[in-house]
């Protein structure tokens, strides 16, 4: 991927990520988050992780964000807009963020081996990215895969239970 395209997607991702934080309307935040995840999926694809890019779009930009929008519209969130920011919280947050960016840039510029460009990939033509991830998943990670399946069953049963039962 050319450098200009990489920075374009980074800027799209970060700009819409900032919009998630600054928009007052939760629906606008959720829709910005969809675009942010699309930019992130493009970055995955630029890293030759085609399977993860598609999964990112299907699972995050599709399923998870539909769930978010559904809950936002289910709950009536009008009261959020009339309140103002707490100034102390804003100040503390900005200080922490500035310090975090400082540490981050120090670490990144101090990490010399991170300046390497892409090592070449010598794929077999008939075995794509999805095949490789699938082989790793089903050969080396059989037990974690089962545990993830159980986790999803437990999570979905728990979600149904939580939203069905009246809280006393």
């Amino acid at each position: 991927m050319p450098v200009a395209l990489f920075w374009t997607f980074v800027v799209i991702m970060l700009a819409f990520g900032v919009m998630v934080v600054v928009f007052r309307n939760p629906v606008a935040s959720a829709l910005s988050l969809v675009v942010c995840f699309l930019g992130l999926a493009a970055l995955y694809i630029s890293l030759d992780a085609f399977f993860l890019g598609v999964i990112q779009i299907l699972v995050y930009a599709g399923a998870v964000m539909v769930l978010f929008l559904f809950i936002i519209m289910l709950l009536d969130l009008k009261g959020e807009q009339r309140r103002s920011f707490n100034l102390i919280a804003v100040f503390g947050g900005v200080v922490v963020i500035v310090l975090f960016v400082k540490v981050l840039s120090d670490v990144c510029y101090g990490y010399q081996s991170g300046n390497a460009v892409f090592p070449a990939i010598t794929h077999n033509a008939e075995h794509g990215d999805t095949w490789q991830v699938g082989m790793a998943l089903f050969e080396q990670y059989k037990l974690p895969l089962q545990m993830i399946g159980t986790l999803i069953v437990v999570a979905s049963v728990g979600a149904v239970l939580l939203s069905k039962r009246e809280l006393k």
């Binding site: 934080v21 992130l40 993860l52 978010f68 981050l104 990939i121 998943l137 986790l151 728990g158």
Partner: protein
């Protein structure tokens, strides 16, 4: 070509944006979205490390499997978390975190 440092910087900045959202916003659902941003920033750095750590001419697919697991767990977490928010809204009629202070000492 973009280097690993560029990807790590993008990932760190995305994490910062999510962190800012958690610190600055007061709506529980928007805080939850900012948490998703931080989770995805970690995923981006993992995919970057996977691509730049080639083994026998292939990316390190162990990292990509880890990202796959993280995405799965995040989806389960969103389902449970939103169910908790709905239950909370039923009990308290609000998702504003300054109104949810019954656990405060």
């Amino acid at each position: 070509m973009a280097t690993l440092n560029d990807y790590l910087l993008a990932s760190g900045l995305l994490f910062t944006v999510g962190f800012a959202g958690v610190l600055l916003r007061r709506n529980l659902i928007v805080i939850f979205m900012a948490l998703e941003l931080m989770l995805n920033a970690a995923n981006l750095s993992l995919v970057g490390f996977s691509r730049f750590h080639t083994q026998a001419g292939l990316p390190d697919y162990n990292a990509q499997v880890l990202v796959f697991f993280i995405i799965t767990v995040a989806a389960a977490e969103v389902a449970v978390g939103l169910a908790v928010i709905v239950a909370l809204y039923r009990a308290k009629q609000t998702t504003h975190i300054e109104d949810l202070n019954s656990l405060k000492f």
